[in-house]
Amino acid sequence: MLKTFSIGGVHPQENKLSAHQAIITAELPRQAVILLGQHIGAPAKPIVAKGDVVKVGTKIAEAAGFVSAAIHSSVSGKVAKIDTVVDASGYAKPAIYIDVEGDEWEESIDRSETLVQGCDLTSEEIVKKIADAGIVGLGGACFPTHVKLTPPPSFKAECVIINGVECEPYLTADHQLMLEHAAEIVEGVALLMKAVKVNKAFIGVENNKADAIEIMNKFAATHAGMEVVPLKVQYPQGGEKQLIDAITKRQVASGALPISAGAVVQNVGTAFAVYEAVQKNKPLFERVITVTGKSVAKPSNFLARIGTPMSQLIDACGGLPEDTGKVIGGGPMMGKALVHVEVPMSKGSSGILIMNKKEANRAEEQTCIRCSKCVSACPMGLEPYLLGALSENGDFERMENERIMDCIECGSCQFTCPANRPLLDYCRLGKAKVGGMIRARQAK
């Protein structure tokens, strides 16, 4: 029996159209628009001004506090302006615009292909290097990695869990990264283990990626205490709490940090970025992103610089198809529709999904018949039908009692609802409102 999480789950169509497409290095944009808030926490503070000349890898904004992350230029050229740009959330956010000239990298970055193994740095030095490189969780949540690697002293890390699940349909960026850079990822995992002083690491990969499991196994075998765990294909296997549950059989309590279960979870992409940051002195300024969709001419995986407009990547796949209904940032389950395609890529951009008109059309909403399919599907054991009704009626106090803050916004409820109720939208609305209420209470 393959390991999996304990409660709920669904089986969406996988639709991995871009699987096994070799990672293509995307062309440089003419102008890079680099957001200052690409992570959870305070937006970074710019340390460049209009007219400054920067290189690839030059730090252009520094972390504003502990829970924040530094930002580096992804291109070489001149700072055109510091202004706002509409990002994937649909709101205008501050960003640094850089006009691209050539492709000159900081000299400190090691651009060779040689694999660097072993590391003489102490744990603290590794964490500092990761923080300096501006690394955040690349699975999508963008939590600053150095914060996760510095758990509160009352907790003790027992193992590192690497998330190579990629349970979101359509997306193949992590899969392809594992196929092409397994050696580097494994070195990154070793560094992460050293950073949190544990001698055990699990690399969780869904069983539909047999080739990735095989190659990760091959390289993981060269390190003591590193184990690849094949997991059942079940959504949301890659949810942080679900992954910890599947691999260690420990459930993180409501409101507690994953570290309370002794686990430090990092995405494979993050592990790769950690390797590059520590061993190659390369800050995080580019990442792998999947551009896909049923009507897309050439679904692809790109290595693209942060700040590249989405439209450029879509053009590289054959352009926006004529029957486009929606462009989603991320995957079909958790992604959000983009307001336009000029949104710049950020550290958390794992994919662009182009839905055709038919797929983008939301079926007509019907009344809830209390079939309880959403209750069975919810991986957190919540009652989405109830949360949806409460949210619809604006009863946010009761939503808090029904533990809306436990919701991981995986969308399993909406996926399974036979009445086409927009349960995820209702839950997200409720979570935002209740989150605001909790913050207001704490501020008092």
């Binding site: 309590a253 409501s254 018949i369 533990r403």
Partner: protein, 313 residues
């Protein structure tokens, strides 16, 4: 939604086919009348009384109510009574509460019980099986449950020998309501619905197990009064109720734990009514009573939440 509703209809097919084999014309007339009347009343009430621009006729729920109501009626029931039953089921049981998804009680059962209380004579005379071309003129006879009740009450003229054997009960060769007679056909429907994940096992299995265990205990205690548990399982509306009536989405609990409490309670109530009550059959009453408890069960039986186990440590 439509997919689930039509899935239920497909699951009801085997029982319908069996009813045609045993009750012939009568089964066809009653079912057709009931379905047509239910769909018509749903449409007419939504359009003319509630003045809604769209109606929910297309979703198939009124068809299901129609079929289930018919399945709970004897095959010689006159058309005008069926129409009154349909009007009560849809009009009072469903639309008065706001239509699909809002009704606290199973509409088909509400209709059936209304008819049972209003027309006790017509509702308790069941044609003997095999009269394929007769309708209201069919010869009637005692159902297995009526015989069992007679035995339990010690009434003269009732004995265990009059009961059909378990196999006859299993395939449905006995008197009773149209859709309830064949346990075999209903079980095929149950398997289909489980396979298609339309329902989960919790409610039907908990009802059947409870009835088997509870009536088994009673049988062991007083075999001269009570029949063997297998006979209880296979007779009357138990199988129809456990598979199709109690599992109605709208009126049953949401969490698995809640479903089990609901199912066990229905099983207990059914046996209590069957063995000690005035009526030979208790399934409809048991389900309706537990329908009333469903909101309470939902309030107190939350699904097992992620991380709760860890919290207790």
């Amino acid at each position: 939604m439509q997919k689930n509703m039509y899935g239920v209809l497909i699951a009801l097919l085997p029982a319908f086919v069996v009813s045609l084999l045993f009750f012939g014309l009568g089964a066809l007339v009653v079912t057709a009348t009931s379905v047509a009347a239910c769909v018509f009343f749903e449409w007419a009430i939504a359009k003319f009384l509630l003045k809604k621009s769209t109606t929910t006729v297309g979703d198939g729920s009124a068809i299901i109510t129609g079929v289930l109501l018919a399945f709970n009626l004897p095959s010689n029931l006159p058309i005008w009574i069926i129409i009154i039953g349909s009007l009560f089921a849809i009009g009072v049981g469903k639309m008065s509460f706001g239509g699909l998804g809002c009704n606290p009680f199973n509409p088909a059962l509400a209709g059936r019980v209304f008819l049972l209380l209003s027309f006790p004579v017509q509702m308790t005379s069941w044609p003997v099986v095999g009269q394929l071309t007769s309708y209201t003129d069919a010869t009637t006879g005692a159902t297995p449950l009526a015989i069992m009740k007679g035995i339990a009450k010690g009434a003269p003229g009732f004995s265990v020998d009059q009961l059909p054997d378990a196999f006859q009960l299993f395939i449905g060769q006995n008197g009773g309501c149209i859709g309830e007679v064949s346990a075999a056909a209903l079980l095929i429907g149950l398997l289909y619905m489980l396979m298609k994940k339309i329902i989960t096992w919790h409610i039907p299995v908990s009802i059947l197990v409870t009835v088997f265990v509870f009536s088994g205990i009673m049988y062991l205690a007083k075999p001269e009064l009570y029949v063997a548990p297998i006979m209880q399982l296979l007779s009357g509306g138990l199988m129809l109720g456990a598979v199709f009536m109690a599992t109605d989405y709208v009126t049953s609990p949401m969490s698995h734990k809640g479903m089990l409490i609901y199912g066990v309670s229905i099983g207990l109530l059914t046996v209590v009514i069957r063995l000690f009550g005035a009526y030979p059959e208790g399934m409809s009453f048991a389900i309706l009573i537990m329908n009333a408890f469903t909101p309470l069960i939902n309030n107190y039986c939350k699904p097992k939440r992620f991380g709760e186990v860890a919290k207790k440590k």
